[in-house]
């Protein structure tokens, strides 16, 4: 599914040796230089790259260890994909309590980035549902960590970007569902205030909420978009649509990015008007609901040979309305737009990891075709706003924030650095912390 030793944004390009890890009982391979665990390569920037070093590709550690269909506790090796787990547990009435926007991530990767989903305001991050994990260090030692057992190592490893050692296995607590269907409701909002209003009024009744924002629109329509909220549907919903059966794929990388101001303007406008009513209801299979982009294999190729840059930030509640408005203005004014602009209110649960990204506030995710300096300058401008508002930028999606900003966003970085395995490092970490 993913290219070898690349990140999902296909930027930056790194040269590294790849070693497959298939046996969790073996000690780590001895190599010259530093190593970094690599799951399925779905991090966007350079947090999953190790330029000049070695990647320990963990996808071969893909065995289940134990699944109790009565309690929903699943113990498995860290290289298993969420998609495999879904195939196994959904028919048995279980679901991951937290899922990111793609199901092609490994369990180890989900822990190491402490990923979040559309239900953050209800369930918090992925790491909050990890009952325990085993950490294998380069000195050959193994440590089972949990919120009770070596809690400091647990807090360092959850969201620890793979730097504290190799996660070999983990036990997850799944949650009950009645079936694979989702009841969804999509509401149109005409400006940013509309988004904040809906977040307050609708979120309480729905486990999953997220909004798509038209980031080409300016003026009165700044921040207009579609607010989608959903719950797991009862076992027999009124409508049973067929399970999805799409196998589209981007077969090659076009010579130039297909995302440009023209296609963006057209797409954003069409998408905003895709439903006639202001409120639309639907029953949907969980796959297209949670993973619309997984339906198109290698969709990252549409951005052409230079790849793209994701930008996801969070702005704390007190500064959210003003901060998000400023961010959207900068993006709209730049004319670069963003194909996928996503807004979501995080909940108030404290995240379990020292370097976890989710924190109370409003999060905005954007992506931009990589146009070199021009894109970097734009993202620096966004950083100025986020930093001034006391927010943070998501390392899993970053390829460019400067070290000073990172250290401001993640004040625990110094305490965290004592937990880093001396033989582990990443392109990201060398960029922001050294």
């Amino acid at each position: 599914m993913s290219s070898v030793g690349q990140s999902w944004g296909r930027y930056p390009v790194a040269a590294q040796t790849i070693i497959d890890i298939t046996d969790r009982h073996r000690p780590l391979p001895t190599v010259n230089g530093v190593v970094l665990p690599y799951g399925n390569g779905r991090s966007y920037g350079d947090s999953c790259l190790n330029d000049g070093g070695t990647l320990l590709r963990a996808r071969g550690m893909d065995r289940y260890i134990r699944f109790d269909p009565f309690t929903g506790q699943l113990e498995c090796e860290a290289g298993l994909l969420l998609s495999d787990i879904l195939d196994l547990v959904v028919p048995q009435g279980w679901f991951p309590p937290v899922t990111p926007g793609t199901r092609f991530v490994t369990v180890g990767g989900a822990i190491a980035n402490d990923v979040h989903g559309k239900n953050h305001h209800v369930t918090g991050t992925f790491g909050q549902h990890v009952l325990n994990l085993e950490l294998l260090r380069s000195d050959g030692s193994r440590m089972v960590c949990s919120p009770e057992l070596h809690p400091d190592w647990f807090a360092a490893t959850v969201g620890g970007l793979g730097l504290t050692g190799l996660i070999t296995r983990a036990t997850l607590q799944l949650r009950r569902i009645a079936g694979p269907w989702m009841s969804c409701e999509t509401r149109r909002f005409r400006n940013l205030d509309g988004f904040f209003h809906l977040s307050e009024s609708v979120a309480a009744r729905h486990e999953y909420t997220v909004a798509w924002v038209d980031c080409v629109s300016t003026g009165d329509g700044l921040g207009r978009g579609l607010f989608t909220c959903a719950n797991h549907a009862p076992a027999s919903p009124d409508v049973k649509p067929g399970a999805p059966n799409r196998h589209l794929s981007m077969p090659f990388t076009p010579p130039v990015s297909l995302i440009n101001p023209l296609s963006l303007r057209a797409f954003n406008s069409l998408y905003f008007h895709r439903q006639r009513e202001d409120i639309a209801h639907a029953t949907t299979h969980y796959v297209p609901y949670f993973y619309p982009l997984d339906g198109v294999g290698n969709w990252n190729r549409i951005y052409g040979p230079h790849g793209f840059m994701q930008y996801q930030c969070v702005v704390p509640p007190t500064a959210a309305q003003e901060g998000i408005k400023q961010l959207l203005e900068v993006v709209a004014r730049g004319g670069d737009g963003s194909f996928l602009a996503v807004l979501k209110q995080f909940g108030n649960q404290p995240s379990p990891g020292m370097l976890s990204f989710p924190r109370p506030g409003t999060t905005l995710a954007l992506d931009f075709p990589n146009q070199g300096e021009r894109t970097l300058r734009l993202l620096d401008k966004l950083d100025d706003i986020v930093a001034a508002a006391g927010g943070a930028v998501y390392p899993a999606k970053d390829a460019r924030m400067n070290g000073q900003r990172f250290r401001q966003y993640f004040p625990a970085w110094e305490a965290f650095s004592h937990f880093i395995d001396p033989r582990f490092s990443s392109s990201f970490w060398r960029r922001v912390a050294e």
């Binding site: 289940y64 134990r66 699944f67 196994l88």
Partner: protein, 245 residues
């Protein structure tokens, strides 16, 4: 319920095949060298839906241990609906040219041991009068090539043996399936540069299960190796010996 026996169970193709059968609720008996790997696989396959999983360790080059292990498998499974013989190595051709001892050892692992196992298993299948004995040979066995003719010759022996055995056992209702994979992306081929011709073990495994279901005799996996090998087999010797493959 399907009863499945797999030799060389920890190889990538075998493990992927075992997962297909586990998802169907089969009962599986696994044979491989390392007990830890077998234990890991057994718990994995049970979560994936296998009715039950048992295993035994075996070094296939200890020919006198074959009978005992097969008898354990047949006792535990009752009867065997499909047996997959999947063990093997990829010998270093250059090293095999330098050492006759190594050449014979590799031939034994990839050829002799397989023939020995199939000989004993064939008699058990003949007695139960149904089932499929599937063996992983290779496209490399179709014609000896400079780059890996030691491996190729061992697989050629397996292919010829399986062909004869198929003629014999078809008459009592037992199918012998010869599987000829091309390049497969597994730990065994870790050091090769991969091209579009390379297949994933999961897709090979699905094809193996389908071939067993359909009672096929010989399958090339993926299918495009059939025309490729047809051409390679028919290149005249005076041309063949002058090129490098």
């Amino acid at each position: 319920m399907l009863r499945i026996l797999i030799v060389g169970a920890s190889s990538a193709i075998a493990e992927a095949t075992a997962r297909c059968y586990a998802a169907r609720g089969a009962r599986l008996f696994l044979i491989a060298r390392q007990s830890q790997r077998l234990e890991d696989m057994a718990s994995d396959l049970k979560v994936r839906g296998a009715a039950d999983v048992a295993f035994a360790t075996l070094d296939v080059n200890q020919l006198d241990a074959h009978g005992d292990v097969l008898s354990q498998a047949w006792t535990w499974l009752g009867e065997v609906d499909a047996m997959l013989v999947a063990h093997g190595t990829l010998p270093d051709q250059n090293a095999c040219e330098a050492s006759a001892e190594l050449a014979v050892k590799e031939f034994n692992t990839n050829g002799t041991s397989t023939i020995a196992l199939m000989t004993l298993a064939a008699n058990r299948f003949e007695a139960q009068r149904h089932g499929t004995l599937a063996v992983i040979s290779s496209v490399a066995g179709d014609r000896g090539r400079q780059s890996n003719y030691l491996y190729g010759s061992a697989k050629a022996a397996v292919t010829a043996f399986a062909s004869g055995l198929r003629q014999r056992l078809t008459k009592v209702g037992v199918n012998v399936l010869t599987i000829k994979p091309g390049f497969v992306d597994t730990p065994m081929t870790r050091d090769f540069k991969k091209s579009a011709l390379w297949a994933k073990p999961e897709s090979i495994a699905r094809s193996i299960v389908r071939a067993v279901d359909r009672g096929r005799s010989v399958v090339y996996l993926p299918w495009f190796w059939l025309p490729i090998m047809l051409i390679i087999r028919h290149v005249p010797e005076f041309v063949f010996k002058r090129i490098k493959l």
